[in-house]
C-alpha cells in the first residue's frame, strides 16, 4: 500500500478514502467545502456540535474535522475542546471569518491543527487538508 497526498489509499480494492467531517451551521459553506473535497475524500456533514459529536461516535474512522468557529449556542472553541476530549486523535481545522491573532492563538492552544480564514479558495482548502492528513499519517 502506498499513501499519497490525495487522501486516497491505493492498493486497496475498495479504494479506501480518508474521512472528513464538515461541521458548519451554514448550508452554503457545507456545500462549498463538499464541492472542493468530495472528489478525494469521504465527506460527512454536521450543522452543530451535537450532530458532530454524534457523527464521530458512529464514524470513529473520521480523520479530520473542518469546524466553523462561530456556530449558534456553542462557542466554536468550546466545541473544539469537547471534540478533542472525546476523540483526542482527530485533527481539527478551524474555519472562520475572523482574521485575528487572538482567535488563531486560542484555537491552536485548544488543539486545532490549523486555521482557515473565509472566504477561502479551492487550493487553500485542499492544501490545508492534505498537509494536515499527511502530518497525521506520519505520526
Amino acid at each position: 500500500m502506498r499513501n499519497n497526498p490525495t487522501g486516497i489509499i491505493e492498493g486497496d480494492a475498495n479504494m479506501k478514502r480518508e474521512h472528513v467531517l464538515i461541521c458548519d451551521d451554514e448550508e452554503g459553506i457545507r456545500e462549498s467545502l463538499n464541492l472542493i473535497l468530495s472528489e478525494q475524500y469521504t465527506i460527512g456533514f454536521a450543522s452543530n456540535v451535537k450532530e458532530a459529536l454524534d457523527y464521530l461516535k458512529d464514524n470513529p474512522q473520521t480523520n479530520l474535522i473542518l469546524l466553523d468557529i462561530k456556530m449558534p449556542r456553542v462557542d466554536g472553541l468550546e466545541a473544539l475542546r469537547q471534540i478533542k476530549k472525546t476523540q483526542p486523535a482527530i485533527e481539527v481545522l478551524i474555519v472562520t471569518g475572523y482574521r485575528s491573532i487572538e482567535t488563531a492563538t486560542e484555537a491552536i492552544k485548544n488543539g486545532a491543527a490549523g486555521y482557515i480564514v473565509k472566504p477561502f479558495d479551492k487550493a487553500q482548502i485542499l492544501k490545508a487538508v492534505q498537509e494536515t492528513l499527511e502530518k497525521k499519517r506520519s505520526t
Binding site: G28, K70, D75, S100, E102, E106, P119, K122
Partner: protein
C-alpha cells in the same frame, strides 16, 4: 480694633487651612505639594505679621520681624514652583526652581544678621514694621522677578491650552495670583521706609478665599471635596464676615465723627442692616465669578452639560454601529465564500445538471442573505419609527451576542447564557431592541474585570 492685625490673622488662618487641605488631598502630586508649600509660606508670614502688629516693645518686634520674613523669603520661590508645576513645566525648569529655593535659603540664613532685615521700628499707625537691611533690595528683586516670571509661565500655558476647563482654571489662577502678587508687593515699600502703607495686605485673604472657592467648586488642582458645600459656605462666610466687620467699623467711625456720639445701639443697627444685604451680595459675587471665569451661569452650565450628554449618546451609538458593521462584515463573508466557491467550479461543472441546480439554489440564497444584512445595517444607522411586532427575545439576544463573538475572544471573556423566560415571545421593535442590547453588552465588555459575561 485695627484692620491690619485682623486681616493678617485671617489671611494666616485661611492660608494654613488651604495648605493642609491641598497637601493632604493628594500628597503625591507635585502641584498640590507646591501649592501647599506656597500657602504655608503665606500663612507663616501672615501669622508673624499679626504678632508683629501686636508687639508691645522693640525687642519683641525685631524677633517677629525676622520670623515673618523667614516665611516671606519662601513666598517667591514656592510661588514659582507652584506656577511651573501648574503649567506643567516643573521638570523642564527644575534648575530654576532649585535656584529659587537656594536663594530663599540664603536669605533665611542671613536672618541672624542685619544684612537683609535690620530690625523693626514704629512706622505704621503706631505699629511696628520691619526695617530693610543692606541686601533687602536683592530680595525685592527676587520677589518681582520670580513672581513676574511665574505669572508669565501661567499666562503662556493659558494661551496654548485648548481644553475649555483647563483654560478657565489657568485664567482663574492667573487672575487670583496676579492680584495676590500685587497686594503682597504693597508690603515692600514701608520696609524700605517709603510712606506707603501695606493696604494690599487686607485683600490677600480674599484672593486665597477665591482660590479655595475654585478648588472646591471647579476642581482646581483636581481636588474633589466631599464636604464641598460646607467648604464653600465656610469660605464665603469668612469673606463676608470680614467685609461686614470692615463695614461696621467704618460706618461706626463715620457716625462718631459726624455726631460725636458713641452708641452700642447704633452699632447693632448698622451691623443688622449690613447683614441683610449679605446674601444678595454673596449671590451676585458667585454669579459674577462663574460667568467671568467659568463661562456661564448655572443655566448655561446645565445647557452645556445637556449638550455633552447628547454627544456621549451619539458617540455610544456610533460605537454600536461600528461594532455592528464589524459583525455584519463578518456575516457577509459566509455567503461570499459560498458564491466564490461555486463560481470557481462553474467552468468545469456547468454541464452537470445537479451542480447547476445547487448553484442556482445556494448562490441565489446567499445573495438574498447579503442583501438582508446590508439592510439591517442601514436600518440600525438611521432613526426609524418604532415598529412593534412579536419577536423572540432569546433570538434577538443570540443575534446580538454573535456580533460580539470576536470581541469576547479578544478580551478572553467567557459567555454564559441562561435564559429563564419560558415564553420568549414579546412585542418589541427588533432593531431597536438589538441596538439597546448591543450598547449594554459593549459597555459591559469595556468595564469587565471578572472575565465572565452572564
Amino acid at each position: 480694633m485695627n484692620l491690619y492685625p485682623t486681616t493678617a490673622i485671617l489671611t494666616s488662618i485661611i492660608a494654613f487651612a488651604m495648605a493642609l487641605l491641598v497637601y493632604l488631598k493628594r500628597p503625591k502630586s507635585t502641584i498640590n505639594k507646591a501649592a501647599g508649600l506656597f500657602c504655608f509660606s503665606v500663612g507663616w508670614f501672615s501669622l508673624f505679621l499679626t504678632f508683629l502688629y501686636l508687639s508691645r516693645n522693640k525687642q519683641q518686634a525685631i524677633v517677629y520681624a525676622k520670623l515673618l520674613n523667614a516665611g516671606g523669603f519662601f513666598v517667591p520661590s514656592t510661588f514659582l514652583h507652584f506656577s511651573l508645576a501648574f503649567a506643567g513645566e516643573h521638570i523642564k525648569k527644575r534648575n530654576l526652581i532649585l535656584s529659587g529655593y537656594l536663594l530663599s535659603f540664603i536669605f533665611l540664613s542671613s536672618l541672624p544678621t542685619p544684612l537683609v532685615i535690620e530690625g523693626a521700628s514704629e512706622k505704621l499707625f503706631g505699629f511696628y514694621y520691619p526695617d530693610a537691611g543692606l541686601f533687602y533690595i536683592f530680595f525685592v528683586l527676587m520677589f518681582f522677578l520670580f513672581c513676574g516670571y511665574s505669572e508669565y509661565a501661567i499666562f503662556k500655558e493659558h494661551k496654548k491650552c485648548k481644553d475649555h476647563l483647563k483654560r478657565n482654571q489657568f485664567k482663574y489662577v492667573l487672575t487670583a495670583t496676579g492680584i495676590g502678587f500685587l497686594c503682597a508687593a504693597t508690603y515692600i515699600p514701608l520696609v524700605l521706609n517709603m510712606p506707603i502703607p501695606p493696604i494690599g495686605g487686607h485683600f490677600i485673604f480674599a484672593c486665597l478665599c477665591l482660590i479655595a472657592y475654585s478648588i472646591a467648586r471647579h476642581k482646581l488642582l483636581d481636588i474633589t471635596i466631599v464636604i464641598r458645600k460646607t467648604l464653600i459656605y465656610s469660605t464665603l462666610i469668612a469673606l463676608i464676615t470680614t467685609i461686614y466687620m470692615i463695614g461696621v467699623l467704618l460706618t461706626e467711625k463715620y457716625f462718631q465723627t459726624l455726631f460725636g456720639y458713641e452708641s452700642l445701639m447704633i452699632t447693632i443697627v448698622i451691623a443688622s442692616t449690613i447683614a441683610l444685604f449679605f446674601i444678595p451680595i454673596k449671590n451676585k459675587v458667585q454669579h459674577f465669578v462663574d460667568k467671568a471665569f467659568f463661562k456661564g451661569t448655572q443655566e448655561q452650565i446645565a445647557r452645556e452639560n445637556e449638550r455633552l450628554r447628547q454627544e456621549i449618546r451619539r458617540n455610544e451609538k456610533l460605537k454600536a454601529v461600528a461594532t455592528l458593521a464589524a459583525g455584519m462584515a463578518h456575516e457577509i463573508k459566509n455567503p461570499l465564500t459560498s458564491i466564490k466557491t461555486f463560481t470557481e467550479y462553474l467552468p468545469e461543472r456547468y454541464k452537470d445538471p445537479a451542480f447547476r441546480e445547487k448553484f442556482s439554489k445556494i448562490v441565489g440564497n446567499e445573495v438574498d442573505r447579503i442583501d438582508k444584512i446590508v439592510h439591517q445595517l442601514l436600518d440600525f444607522a438611521k432613526p426609524a419609527p418604532l415598529e412593534l411586532t412579536e419577536v423572540n427575545i432569546h433570538q434577538i439576544l443570540d443575534e446580538t451576542l454573535e456580533l460580539l463573538s470576536n470581541n469576547l475572544v479578544k478580551k478572553k471573556i467567557k459567555l454564559i447564557r441562561e435564559y429563564h423566560r419560558s415564553n420568549p415571545i414579546i412585542k418589541a421593535d427588533s432593531n431597536q431592541l438589538k441596538q439597546v442590547f448591543l450598547n449594554i453588552f459593549l459597555n459591559s465588555l469595556d468595564y469587565n474585570v471578572s472575565g465572565l459575561l452572564k
